[in-house]
Amino acid sequence: MSSLSRDEVAHVAMLARINLTDDELDTLAGQLDQIVGFVAAVGEIGVEDVPPMSHPLPLSNVTRPDVVRPSLDAAEALAGAPKAQAQRFAVPRILDEE
């Protein structure tokens, strides 16, 4: 039976940029471990003959021709930006001072 440790939950939270307090980590680690356990139950069913499914639709090769379609104009594109300058999205400093 798989299990999810508190350290693993902390690591995944860090990767997803979610700040968790120690209390939250304790709670979530327990809950997530249970969820993984529920899902693992599927593994106990005999599914040897069932091919793995990656998509609910049995489709492949859904493509489009290489033809230009209208884009948004810059004002529309930037309409939802918290901050814009020089027709560009303004974002906070990328590298921390070291």
Binding site: V12, L15, R17, S54, H55, L57, L59, S60, N61, V62, T63, R64, P65, D66, V67, V68, R69, P70, S71, L72, D73, A74, A77, L78, G80, Q85, A86, Q87, R88, F89, A90, V91, P92, R93, I94, L95, E97, E98
Partner: protein, 508 residues
């Protein structure tokens, strides 16, 4: 940021004691009309954020759809690299956070690349061949472009904030990854340059990318590691690989060679000091010829790859793959050999032609009626010199292959000599018209009238009796001075060979 100068050891010393191993990752931006997953145009240098839509901005609810032409281009690149083509593969999300990536993941391929297990035979300077094994070629999308504001350098270090343009976000990229390249020894940097050069030629011949490294449509990341030498009789391949560093975005062929050369010297110094190599990215600096530390390299797991739920699998039909295989052009290396034989160039001449990037131009010039020797002389001589002075590419030079064929023909027909032909070229480049028009307008034509030539020869001999006597006495080299005088007499518009003939006939 701290600017430390890393210790390096001499290259020969490093190579004498260590075995370099390389891995090269090359990104090629496809020249499709639209992006990988949406219909936005892929124009270089457009106004910022004018070729963006909900899909490439990563807005909620937008659904990507795969560009069919991009898939076909990816397959053609794979086939040209002797790869197997997957009969079924998927896209995957590569999750990380960076402001130039609007979705917070890059749509890429992970464990199911469209092309895998190929090779490219690369010719080195001495004519020998090194086989570069290709691990995979996969489809993905480019990121946006950032402009860093504040701070002294305009670089990301020290910037107060950044401005992002997403026009480039979503442009189709093919990432081509080699297997570890071993056994190159001291020639490792040369092998890397030759590989990237051969790959550039190959992709260019396929017509699927502009492959202009200076514009970023082809970019190379170079992984380097050193391992101990196995010693006499030892099996070098049994020695485990050392820790690698990845030098990012090396943007010219020369930089590929220099960056790997530098990293070999730097790694050797670190290992000599008893320290170990930190697995990290490095930034190459063209001006100093050195790399500086980037960020620690994440393990693959940290990207939390998973199959992209918004896209269905790509399953190229065998018939399509065969059809694309049929459409492949003659491989560049084979074509070069054929053309060299057709044109009768020496190896050295052919190398000059390749280095000048003039193969296509010479082929067209010859097709327009020039001799192979004439076409080579123009493109690798006069035109390469002028293009180099002006920092332009030969093909952007404003002179057509038909013009050069016409010039070559006029010289061969005895209508122009070399210096007059160069004046005609000046006129063509100045927009005065095609070569015959320029020659007519400027009154450039060799004196065809033998009487006028003879009169000039007689006059020059009469006025230079001392020189003429030397020629009479058998010093044929002295005739050069007389020819010069004749040319002057006829304002440069004489056929020098004919003048020489006539002078020698009269004096010997």
């Amino acid at each position: 940021m701290t600017t430390t100068t890393d210790a390096v050891v001499g290259y020969d010393d490093a190579i004498a004691r260590f075995d370099p191993v390389m891995g090269l990752e090359v990104h090629v931006e496809l020249n499709t009309a639209t992006k990988m997953f949406c219909g936005c145009a892929t124009v270089f240098g457009a106004e910022p954020n004018t070729h963006v839509c909900p899909v490439c901005l990563g807005l909620p609810g937008a659904l990507p759809v795969v560009n069919r032409t991009a898939v076909e281009s990816a397959i053609r690149i794979g086939l040209a690299l002797n790869c197997s083509i997957a009969d079924w593969c998927r896209f995957a999300r590569k999750n990380y956070f960076y402001p130039d990536m609007p979705k917070n993941f890059q749509t890429s391929q992970y464990d199911e690349p469209i092309a895998f297990e190929g090779y490219l035979d690369v010719e080195l300077d001495d004519g020998s061949t090194y086989r570069v094994d290709i691990e995979r070629a996969h489809m993905e999308e480019d990121t946006g472009k950032s402009l860093h504001v504040g701070g002294a350098t305009g670089r990301i270090q020290g910037a107060e904030y950044s401005l992002v343009d997403f026009n480039r976000a979503g442009i189709p990229l093919i990432e081509i990854v080699t297997k570890p390249l071993t056994g190159a020894g001291e020639r490792a940097p040369e092998v890397a340059r030759a590989y990237v050069s051969a790959l550039r030629d190959l992709v260019k011949a396929l017509g699927v990318s502009d492959v202009r490294m200076e514009q970023g449509s082809m970019r190379c990341d170079a992984n380097v590691s050193l391992r101990a030498k196995a010693g006499d009789g030892g099996d070098q391949n049994a020695v485990p690989l050392g820790t690698r560093t990845e030098t990012k975005n090396v943007n010219s062929l020369r930089s590929v060679e220099r960056a790997i050369h530098y990293e070999i010297c730097r790694h050797a110094a670190v290992l000599d000091s008893g320290a170990s190599i930190l697995q990290e990215t490095r930034h190459w600096h063209e001006d100093t010829g050195a790399t500086t530390s980037g960020r620690p390299k994440s393990d693959a797991d940290d990207y939390r790859y998973f199959p992209e739920p918004d896209l269905v699998p790509v399953a190229p039909a065998a018939e399509l793959v065969e059809q694309l295989r049929e459409s492949l052009p003659e491989p560049p290396a084979k074509r070069r050999k054929r053309l060299q034989a057709d044109w009768g160039y020496s190896d050295l001449e052919m190398r000059d032609v390749i280095n000048a990037g003039a193969i296509d131009l010479i082929e067209q010039t010859v097709a327009n009626g020039a001799t192979a020797a004439g076409a080579r002389k123009w493109w690798t001589g006069e035109l390469a010199r002028r293009a180099n002075n002006e920092g332009k590419a030969l093909e952007d030079f404003g002179v057509t292959t038909a013009d050069i064929a016409a010039l070559d023909g006029m010289v061969r027909d005895g209508r122009l000599n070399d210096s007059m032909a160069r004046q005609v070229l000046d006129g063509v480049l100045a927009g005065e018209g095609r070569p015959t028009q320029v020659a007519d307008a400027r009154g450039l034509e060799l004196v065809q009238d033998d009487g006028a030539l003879e009169a000039a020869v007689d006059k020059v001999i009469a006025g230079n009796e001392a020189v003429a006597d030397k020629v009479r006495a058998g010093k044929l080299n002295a005739a050069g001075a007389l020819i010069g005088q004749v040319m002057k007499e006829l304002k440069g518009q004489a056929d020098a060979a004919k003048a020489r003939e006539m002078i020698l006939a009269k004096l010997t």
